[in-house]
């Protein structure tokens, strides 16, 4: 099967400090890939490079054959990103937020209306969608952010610490949506520092520590190799400070 996302020996430095060091990964449609690591491991930087917001100092990233450096605009049309720092326009309603980003993706008004109806059903946002976003709870905002990220039907959905600050219901809703998106053939990159969350959701795990890839393998393989939980596996791998493992599925 052709990889949807190819990350090839990517490195990134800020002020001579290497934040991502020679990382290579391949991801396929229908997968939920967990990017795990503690704060400062380089997860957000890697995801920002995939999203074309940052340019790698070395290596290449291709999504559906589109280069992140040469065709950033086209690549962005194939992905949706939600991270913990993102917000929505509070003076607009949820519907207006979704309409705005759908328009920016080049969708026509009738298609937008149709897609919003679909999102109302899948995310359960219909009851309050026309209220000003200022009055929304954290969970409601997160649903609008997810809706914004997928309204143009991207091939890749990146969720970077997207469950931060969510209550148990909102978190469950997020996880359900992720599974729904992957079942429909989309690739999900789920980045978190909460290992238990990834263990519940992901079928492939890539662990980062100090910018380096500790392991990239299926969840079952990692658990069987290192035993216990993902957290136990991470501590063991980080302690060993092994060279990056280029896993293949």
């Amino acid at each position: 099967m052709q990889a949807l996302l190819e990350i090839n020996q990517v490195s990134k430095s800020f002020a001579k400090r290497k934040v991502v060091d020679n990382v290579s990964l391949q991801m396929f449609p229908g997968q939920v890939v967990g990017i795990l690591g503690p704060n400062g491991a380089g997860k957000t930087t890697l995801l920002r490079m995939i999203s074309t917001l940052l340019k790698p100092n070395a290596g290449s990233i291709r999504l559906a054959g589109v280069s992140s450096v040469d065709q950033p605009l086209e690549l962005r049309s194939h992905l949706g990103l939600v991270n913990a720092n993102m917000g929505i326009y509070e003076r607009m309603s949820g519907r207006e937020n979704l309409e705005l980003f759908a328009s920016l993706a080049g969708l026509k008004a009738d298609v937008i209306a149709e897609r919003i109806d679909e999102l109302c059903a899948s995310l359960g946002i219909g009851d309050w969608l026309d209220a000003r976003a200022k009055s929304y709870s954290t969970g409601m905002r997160q649903k609008i952010l997810i809706g914004r990220a997928v309204i143009h039907r991207p091939k890749l959905l990146i969720l970077d610490e997207a469950s931060n600050g969510l209550d148990v219901f909102a978190r469950r809703g997020l996880m359900d949506f992720v599974l729904q998106f992957s079942k429909a053939g989309g690739l999900v990159i789920y980045s978190t520092h909460i290992m238990s969350e990834a263990q519940e959701l992901c079928d492939q795990i890539a662990m980062l520590h100090e910018g380096r890839l500790l392991v990239n393998d299926s969840l079952s393989q990692i658990l069987s190799t290192h035993g216990g939980t993902l957290e136990d596996a991470f501590f063991k791998l980080a302690k060993d400070q092994r060279q990056p493992v280029q896993g293949a599925l």
């Binding site: 999203s51 917001l53 940052l54 917000g87």
Partner: protein
């Protein structure tokens, strides 16, 4: 670059701006309401305060018999007296010095025993006591000196008549001033020509700043900036959409302010005219000039206001793009305001330093110089065009810098 995307982003910023009541008040309603409030307040003050109570402007203590000097003292202010003012009130005091030192009066005069009836009586002194730290004392002193001067001139005229000469014969060399300026407004319009461009600059800034901050630093603070950048839009489209929104509000503020100012002048004129009739017309003609802006002048003023708004919008957006928070952007904008004002300064000093038309090539200064010319009643379309061009070039350069800034990762992710 896709025009449809720019338009979406532009309208998004405008919608965000108009949904924030504070920004709306500051950028649109304030320039509009300020002159309207003044239009209501000025006639009210004129009617209630000036028209009915007719307050005394200043009081002068007088020691001794003022006699026939009183008519001379009141003479210089006859025009105002006709309008219902009582500019000078003379109050008898026992000791002129004590009247001033006791702080009861700013100025007091000690009259001599008798006033001279002619030049043969020799020089006689009037002692004038004044507290030089008080502004009112300076004005009162000026009135007294003017009165004395008029008194002396009256005696001189009498003397000349007795010698068979006319009063005008004492001036063998005279000045006849001929104004060569191509203008229909009074030269006193110069005072307005300083005020109006500065206010236009201030209003353009007032409009540009909150929108610029809201569209950049505040967007970064809210987390919507990254949301926008990760969409399938180019940095140039994002920048242009934001700039057009800032410019739209800045232009609106400047033009609304300009219109409000014009309406205010008309209202003041009408209010004073109805209250004081011909006297007010005389004062206004002397002090303000003929306020009769024609369509051509209004068009030229509007073009220059747009040029100023263009440059000011770039001034406001550039540092705001760099700022991480609303507060940080406000801090960066303070020197920006002073820089914009400094750029306007050469226009005001152009005549003095003989800068000539070169001044029009300085951004903002050119537009200000053009407005000054318009308000003096002699619109110069070449100057207006150069003013617009210099602001356009400045804006283009600022946009290029902003685009470079937005392309830098260290600027986009200042965290």
């Amino acid at each position: 670059m896709r025009a449809s995307i720019v338009k979406i982003l532009w309208f998004k910023e405008l919608r965000n701006t108009f949904r924030d009541k504070r920004t709306f008040w500051l950028t649109i309603l304030l320039p509009l309401m300020m002159p309207i409030v003044m239009m209501l307040v000025v006639p009210l003050v004129a009617t209630l305060v000036v028209g009915k109570s007719k307050p005394d402007l200043m009081t002068i203590g007088v020691q001794g018999d003022i006699g026939r000097f009183e008519s001379a003292l009141m003479g210089p202010v006859n025009l105002l007296a006709m309008a219902g003012f009582k500019p000078i009130k003379l109050v008898p005091v026992l000791d002129a010095r004590a009247a001033v030192t006791s702080k009861k009066f700013s100025v007091a005069i000690a009259m001599p025993q008798s006033l001279p009836s002619g030049f043969d009586d020799g020089a006689i002194e009037i002692k004038l006591y004044a507290d030089s730290t008080k502004t009112r004392a300076k004005s009162a002193e000026l009135y007294v000196r003017t009165a004395v001067d008029r008194f002396n001139k009256k005696l001189l005229a009498q003397k000349l008549t007795s010698l068979g000469l006319a009063d005008t014969d004492r001036e063998v060399l005279r000045i006849k001033a001929i104004d060569t300026a191509d203008k229909k407004n009074s030269i006193s319009m110069v005072a307005l020509s300083f005020l109006v461009p500065m206010l236009t600059l201030a209003w353009a800034m007032t409009g540009a700043q909150p929108v610029a901050i809201d569209a950049s630093a505040a967007e970064r603070e809210r987390g919507t900036f990254e949301t926008l950048l990760v969409s399938a839009v180019s940095r140039w489209e994002v920048l242009l959409g934001k700039y057009l929104a800032v410019l739209s509000i800045s232009i609106t503020s400047a033009l609304v302010g300009l219109l409000g100012f014009y309406l205010l002048l008309l209202a003041v004129r009408q209010a004073l005219k109805s209250q004081f009739g011909a006297v007010a017309t005389e004062i206004l003609e002397q002090k303000i000039g003929d306020i009769s802006f024609d369509a051509s002048m209004m068009l030229a003023l509007s073009i220059s206001a747009v040029a100023i708004a263009m440059a000011v919008s770039a001034f406001a957006l550039l540092p705001s793009l760099f700022a991480r928070t609303y507060k940080e952007a406000q801090m960066y904008l303070v020197p920006g305001i002073f820089t914009a004002m400094a750029l306007a300064a050469p226009a005001f000093a152009a005549d003095f330093f003989n800068l000539g038309p070169k001044v029009a090539w300085i951004p903002i200064s050119g537009a200000v110089a053009s407005m000054m010319r318009d308000l003096a009643g002699s619109t110069d379309w070449v100057l207006t065009g150069i003013g617009l061009l210099s602001c356009t070039l400045f804006t283009a350069a600022a946009m290029w810098i902003m685009l470079k800034l937005l392309s830098r990762e260290s600027v986009v992710f200042r965290d």
